[in-house]
């Protein structure tokens, strides 16, 4: 059972990394967008494996649904096609070196650290008896009430800003 879980993890991780690679290499932006949707689905599977089903649902609805539809809509609107010119070769090399160094550094740091033990009360049994959505709601409307209200103001400002920016004449 444990081995099967690990195998499943590696399978989904492989698909996530492969589709992430397609996002950064595909010449046509639409293909990149579809690959990104695939990555989002893989991440949603990971959220389910981490006992966070509500976050998985939100991930699929908000990211794979709303945000990607918005991006693809804008792509269709601008009607850009594939890109023909690429950056200078040394810039690409520099980018790969910088990102690779960062990845190696982060992975070494993660491997060096000791895994701490559980500190909070919420484990998989609590999530199953109380319910994940209920736990999120409890935390959000008691401890994080002020950030929640501020997020609503942020969304309002974003709506108004998007309309004003995209309007032909203000």
């Amino acid at each position: 059972m444990e081995l099967l879980q690990l195998f499943f993890f590696y399978l989904v991780a492989f698909v996530a990394i492969l589709s992430g690679f397609c996002v950064i290499t595909c010449k046509n932006p639409i293909n990149s967008a579809i690959s990104l949707v695939m990555t989002f689905f893989c991440l949603a599977i990971f959220y389910v494996m981490l006992h966070a089903p509500f976050m998985a649902a939100v991930q699929i609805m908000v990211y794979a649904g709303a945000i990607m539809v918005l991006i693809i809509f804008v792509m269709m609107l601008l009607n850009q096609g594939s890109e023909v010119v690429s950056r200078y070769r040394h810039a690409v090399t520099g980018a790969f070196v910088a990102a690779g160094l960062m990845m190696v550094q982060v992975i070494i740091t993660i491997k060096q650290g000791d895994v701490s033990s559980t500190v909070g009360p919420i484990n998989s049994e609590v999530i199953e008896t109380v319910g994940h959505t209920e736990l999120i709601g409890q935390a959000m409307f008691t401890e994080f009430l002020l950030p929640f209200e501020l997020a609503s103001i942020l969304l309002l400002v974003a709506i108004v800003g998007a309309v004003v920016l995209a309007k032909r004449e203000v």
Partner: protein, 100 residues
């Protein structure tokens, strides 16, 4: 046994791939999608640590990151439309109006 390290290494890999995309791609929308990829890898770290530590705070953070990403998507794409209307291009190398 899937440990926390597995998830963190995976999200480090995804974050680096997002960085490569941001630094190498020229289409502004693709750059934008790579930023979304980076945000999502951070979300994975947050949820993995939240589940490992038995604490809900990480998942609330992910919720707010998603809110900010949605706002960013709306405003960023509106900016791109406005820029495309002015210069008929969404190539990041043409975003140089403030350069002198």
């Amino acid at each position: 046994m899937i440990t926390i390290t597995h998830y963190m290494v995976l999200s480090a890999i995804l974050f680096s791939m997002g960085t490569v995309g941001v630094l190498t791609r020229k289409n502004a929308i693709v750059v934008f999608m790579c930023v979304e990829l980076m945000l999502n890898s951070v979300n994975l770290t947050f949820i993995a640590l939240s589940s490992h530590l038995g604490n809900m705070d990480g998942q609330i953070f992910v919720f707010f990151i998603m809110t900010v990403a949605a706002a960013e998507a709306a405003v960023g794409l509106a900016l791109m439309i406005a820029f495309f209307r002015n210069s008929d291009s969404i190539d990041v190398e043409d975003f140089s109006l403030l350069k002198w």
